[in-house]
């Protein structure tokens, strides 16, 4: 009987140790969950969470894909203004590309001749990808650092013949470019930076540009997309069709003489001269 009582006491003691261990483990789990912001008492009335203890307290390192520069700091974005690009071409000419105040949108592609990720972009632009950009009248300008930081001959070999390429370290400073490759889209008339960032391939950049262009109502070739008119109003093509119908009803169709006046509305002075001075012997 005594032996049985002793054994029972030992079993109870072991169970007590086990329960205490489980409770401590549970408490530790709850404490960790609370640190991660999933406290079971969060949001309940009468409970307060100190900001310093909520969320992840251990620093988490976020990294971009290898070869793609990390985003710049918030201060950098705020400090960035659009600027014209002035520098030299790979062939040694002094050159300036108008960006602010220009009548078009400019996609600035900051590239380097020695950057591995940039190789895809040089190749894509060389294949003509840069000549047909989404959006309205978007112009591609490739910018590299100046001759003091880049190989002029390497840039000249990579620069696509049909794309403006300017070497300018000042442009990197003006736009606070963090690394290569980096892209900045500037609206010329407003001088505003529409967007900026890095990408691993030209396809990514083109997709983002295409989405932005579509949001703005333009197709990939720059022509306006047909957008649905507000309820109760006609779209542009519908208005054109109505105008055509009205003109036809009035007896004015294609080729009607009234469509080809001899004089413009402003009178004969407004018309282009039919004759003028002969080109000078100098011309």
């Amino acid at each position: 009987m005594t032996v049985l009582v002793v054994l029972l006491a030992v079993v109870v003691a072991l169970l007590a140790v086990l329960v205490i261990g489980l409770l401590r483990s549970h408490a530790e789990i709850l404490r960790r969950l609370h640190e991660l912001g999933a406290g079971i008492y969060d949001g309940e009335e009468g409970t307060t969470v100190e900001p310093s203890t909520a969320g992840v307290r251990t620093p988490v390192e976020l990294r971009t894909r290898p070869g793609v520069p990390e985003p710049r700091s918030t201060e950098g974005i705020v400090a960035t203004d659009a600027h014209d690009i002035a520098g030299i071409t790979p062939t040694g000419s002094a050159a300036m590309a108008g960006v602010v105040g220009a009548g078009h949108t400019t996609l600035l592609a900051f590239l380097s001749s020695g950057c591995g990720t940039c190789a895809d972009f040089w190749r894509a632009f060389g294949d003509g990808a840069g000549t047909r950009l989404p959006g309205r009248d978007t112009r591609l300008v490739i910018v590299t650092k100046g001759p003091e930081a880049e190989s002029v001959s390497a840039v000249e070999a990579l620069a696509p013949p049909g794309v403006t390429t300017i070497m300018s370290t000042d442009a990197y400073t003006d736009y606070s470019v963090p690394a290569n490759p980096y892209f900045i889209l500037v609206d010329g008339p407003s001088g505003r930076i529409y967007g900026e960032g890095a990408a691993a391939s030209w396809q990514q950049v083109a997709t983002l540009l295409g989405q932005a262009a579509a949001d703005a109502g333009y197709s990939a070739d720059g022509s306006p997309l047909q957008r649905s008119a507000p309820e109760g109003r006609m779209t542009g093509p519908e208005r054109a069709a109505r105008a055509d119908a009205d003109l036809l009803a009035a007896g004015i169709g294609p080729g009607h003489p009234s469509l080809y006046p001899d004089e413009l509305v402003g009178g004969p002075d407004a018309a282009l001269p039919q004759s003028g001075p002969e080109p000078g012997s100098e011309g």
Binding site: G98, G101, G188, L272, P273, P277, G280
Partner: protein, 157 residues
């Protein structure tokens, strides 16, 4: 506004304008009547639209892209030996230009709606040809005002 400075020429285009001061690559196959290699003096192109990288001295390849509000200015230096010829002798800097200086028939290549102006002159003893194209003859009064503003900022050393 930034200033481009090269080959003794300085231009200060307004914001949003393109500009380039360059010399063509010398072509050894081209010889003067005296049998010596051609001279490739500097050329300045200034425009209020995006200049294509490949274009002719007088804007071929660029003027075809011009819309009605566009302006293209080419300043081409000639060989110094031509400074004493009748083409340049006694002709000073020709700007400011007048709207009446522009005519659709003054274009190197006629393009509907456009008008051009060409002047030969000497500056600092250097012979130059100024060739300007505006995108719209009808808008010449407005566009020539822009042209003169840019020309006023050109410095020839």
């Amino acid at each position: 506004m930034a200033t481009l400075n090269a080959h003794g020429l300085a231009v200060t285009p307004p914001a949003g304008w393109d500009a380039e001061i360059f010399t063509r690559d010398r072509d050894p196959r081209i010889l003067t009547p005296q049998g010596i290699e051609e001279v490739v003096p500097p050329i300045a192109h200034i425009a209020n639209f995006g200049l294509p990288p490949v274009r002719g001295d007088f804007g071929g390849g660029a003027v075809e892209l011009m819309e009605s509000g566009a302006v293209f200015i080419a300043l081409l230096e000639h060989d110094a030996s031509e400074a004493g010829t009748a083409l340049f002798q006694g002709k000073g800097i020709p700007w400011p230009l007048s709207p009446d200086d522009f005519d659709p028939n003054n274009l190197q290549r006629g393009i509907g709606g456009q008008a051009g102006c060409q002047r030969f002159f000497l500056a600092q003893g250097r012979p130059f040809c100024l060739y300007v194209v505006i995108g719209s003859y009808r808008l010449r009064t407005t566009l020539v005002r822009q042209v003169n503003a840019v020309l006023a900022g050109i410095t020839i050393a």
